[in-house]
Subunit: 478 residues, 2 copies
């Protein structure tokens, strides 16, 4: 295991000048010397694993196992071989494995009602009202607390959901199949921005929209998709990375391409033309429509890399608004969690950081698969949404190459000379370098019932990665 300094340039510069003091790490020493006129070069070095002895030993033990590198190569090759394909739309109850009328799926790792954050509570209330299991928000809260409905992560049912990620039995879902491995993933249809269920809103407007989506939008789209035939999502995602999207929070190109692909078939349907027109208007009015397609595409792609013996590749990252959790390929279904973080970003008019809920949603599956924050260099204009400069966006992607196993051969970034996106996060590299996965995300209001207040960048909690490395060493360390 090597411990490379993060910035070696000042050291190399040394050899062309006079001798000087080189200070690694703590800046205080360098400042003292510099204050006395001693030429000093400060190197921004950090000890690996933050200097924790048990973690360094764990990383060393893992590094001594030659099977890990092989297993990670296998994980990467499965991710790259993935062929996510949109094959249809179904109803959750009939489609999603294990779905039931008394079951509410949510984003992130498991969480009990009493521990749920505002946006998730709001979305649960909305979901119970939508299903007719409660008739007032108060009734819904009583029911949620009663133990008569069950809560489970989307991820336990081959599903993903953005933000609160609430999926109930009668909601329509996209069906995306990984045609290289035969596994499927499911996701609800995107509602748009603002007052929407996934941001914890549950007003009449929100529920009416969900009903229209189930009764008209989904059936119409399903018929058009059946006429069109399956859509190669890998090709679409590869294209949108050439069109200023990064597949998580900038989806204008992706949404446009889906409209183009479906339009000739929507036009042929035996449906009232007003309905077809309303479907087009809804899609045109919602630039995030494509997000709920990239998510299950990413999910079915990385699911094929979960459960490979001795692989330290992260196969799941997800947040429920209370906790951020990861699952590591070689450790199977086990979650490692830490407290969900506060998002740093830009706020909608009238809102500030004081209104922000903590990081929430399964949409970080996009980063897990090598797009989203990992592909920000492809989407310089996203900084208008999440903050920062285009140069920051380039640097976010460049840094992610340090914690990934390889590069995507289909998803390429024009601004980086068509380099493949950094793909296959190695939990050992994360802990060794201290570089956390870059995630961009929307921000929900902290209280139930309000909705979106902004968007930004968020750092996951470091401890879930460290805990995973310790557990991994216990199982696979030599």
């Amino acid at each position: 295991m090597s411990a490379e300094p993060m910035n070696v340039k000042p050291v190399l510069g040394l050899f062309s000048g006079d001798l000087a003091v080189v200070n690694l790490g703590l800046e205080g020493f360098a400042e003292t010397l510099a204050g006395r006129g001693v030429p000093t070069v400060q190197v921004d070095w950090k000890p690996p694993a933050g200097g924790r002895k048990d973690v360094i030993e764990a990383l060393d033990a893992i590094a001594r196992n030659p099977r890990v590198a092989e297993a990670n190569a296998e994980a990467l090759s499965r991710i790259l071989a993935g062929k996510p394909t949109l094959v249809g739309i179904g109803t959750a109850l009939d489609t999603v494995p294990g779905m039931a009328r008394d079951l509410i799926l949510h984003a992130g790792p498991p969480v009990a009602w009493k521990d749920m954050a505002g946006p998730l509570r709001g979305a649960v209330i909305g979901g119970l009202l939508y299903e007719g299991l409660a008739s007032t928000p108060e009734e819904a809260q009583t029911l949620a607390a009663s133990g008569k409905v069950r809560f489970e992560p989307c991820h336990h049912h081959s599903a993903v959901g953005p933000m609160a990620g609430v999926m109930t039995a009668s909601m329509p879902v996209w069906i995306v199949e990984n045609q290289a491995f035969g596994n499927r993933a499911y996701c609800t249809l995107n509602e748009g921005l603002g007052k929407v269920l996934r941001y914890g809103a549950y007003s009449r407007e929100v529920l009416d929209r969900l009903r229209w989506m189930a009764e008209r939008l989904a059936p119409v789209l399903a018929k058009a998709l059946a006429l069109r035939g399956p859509i190669d999502m890998k090709s679409l995602i590869a294209q949108v990375l050439q069109m200023g999207d990064e597949g998580h929070n900038r989806n204008r190109a992706g949404t446009s391409l889906v409209i183009r692909e479906l339009a000739p078939h929507l036009a042929l349907l035996d449906e009232p033309k007003e309905d077809i027109s309303k479907v087009f208007s809804f899609l045109n009015g919602n630039d995030h429509f494509f997000l709920n397609l990239t998510m299950p595409s990413a999910k079915c792609t990385v699911d094929a890399a979960l459960g490979i013996e001795a692989s330290s590749v992260i196969a799941t990252m997800a947040r429920n608004g209370t906790e951020f959790g990861i699952r590591v390929s070689g450790l199977g279904e086990r979650w490692f969690t830490g407290p969900a973080s506060v998002v740093e970003g830009l706020y909608l008019p009238g809102f500030s950081a004081a209104d922000a809920a903590r990081d929430v949603g399964d949409s970080v599956i996009t980063e897990t698969s090598g797009i989203g924050g990992f592909a920000m260099a492809a989407a310089p204009a996203i900084v208008k949404f999440v903050g920062g400069t285009p140069e920051d966006a380039l640097n976010v992607t460049r840094r992610m190459y340090e914690i990934t196993v390889g590069e995507n051969d289909a998803y390429r970034i024009p601004a980086l000379d068509f380099r493949g996106t950094p793909t296959g996060i190695d939990v050992c590299k994360v802990v060794e370098t201290g570089i956390l996965p870059a995630i961009n995300t929307g921000i929900a209001h902290r209280e139930p019932g309000i909705g979106m207040v902004g968007a930004g960048l968020v750092k996951p909690p470091a401890n879930c990665f460290t805990d995973a490395v310790l557990a991994f060493a216990e199982k696979y360390g030599n």
Copy 2:
């Protein structure tokens, strides 16, 4: 007038090292000295205006006239104030000023039948067949040579046409209005790539497509547009520059956005659904559809800057396949021309440079207005179409700031930290620096009847800029 060296870095480097010989210009001197072990710094300096004394005097005389800078500021402000808006679709005969049944409009400056290049001849033959003025290609050629049909530039009729740019009386045309100044511009609808009239093809397939476009596509789109209301083209162009298009040869985002805007209204029409579906399929199958909208948008924008006393801003650039021509604001309708150049680029399978016609088309109106080649930094993926690297694309845009009067306040480039595109080409700056406007373009086959063979970058002939400067000095030099 200053003569800045093109690359000053090696000179600045001097002051931190030992003394050395600095050689400006001809590299032979530096090579000789370097061969003898003398430390030498080569500066890539060129004399202004290529060292031509008459041209240097003309530039000096223009520089002594303070009205020129004021007039150029006025030209820039008119270009920036432009508000190109898509208002409808009409038939050329009823819509385009001065259009007539015996008149064929073409791209570029004026050219007689006997001097026309292959693609233009091919498109004229196709246009005469399409109008029923001839029934065989041979008859069409005889008619074209007979003097019984007239040829005039699109630009003389407030119109523009890509490649051959042939417009005949019964063709449908987009109507784009500059709502800041009230002037309009017209352009045919884009046919797609491959065997199409604008690349000089005139087979049955080409003519059948043109008839379907006139009989079904245009009326259907016109009705949808009437329902939708006018479309703000400035907003769409600003958006596509954030989505990997540059508005000339990469139009996938633009075409997608137009489909999105029109789809809800297309769906509402009382037309056979098969026709609506075919319209969607045609648009989805033709990523260059948006080009014929950016072109009249650019045309009506820069037309407002033509004819400003003492302005040296270029208001028109266009090529007819034989000659490249420009018009300068302060010199009004007068063309300055030079021989059309050979395009350097990538060829479709089965074709090579030996098949290439010379540079042709009015589409360089996009560069004239500050997009297209001038905005290549917004479209790094375009290098897959025209050749080069993404870094080349950035550099093309950066260099254009040296020959333009200002920067666009609406058209911005994410990768350059949202800097406005270089806008308002000053013919004096072109001649002084020797930096020619950067143009990217399609390549037609040199023979009539074949079609597209590739795409690439092209340099306009230097003499038309020099001739314009001499004429400008004669009128406005002090």
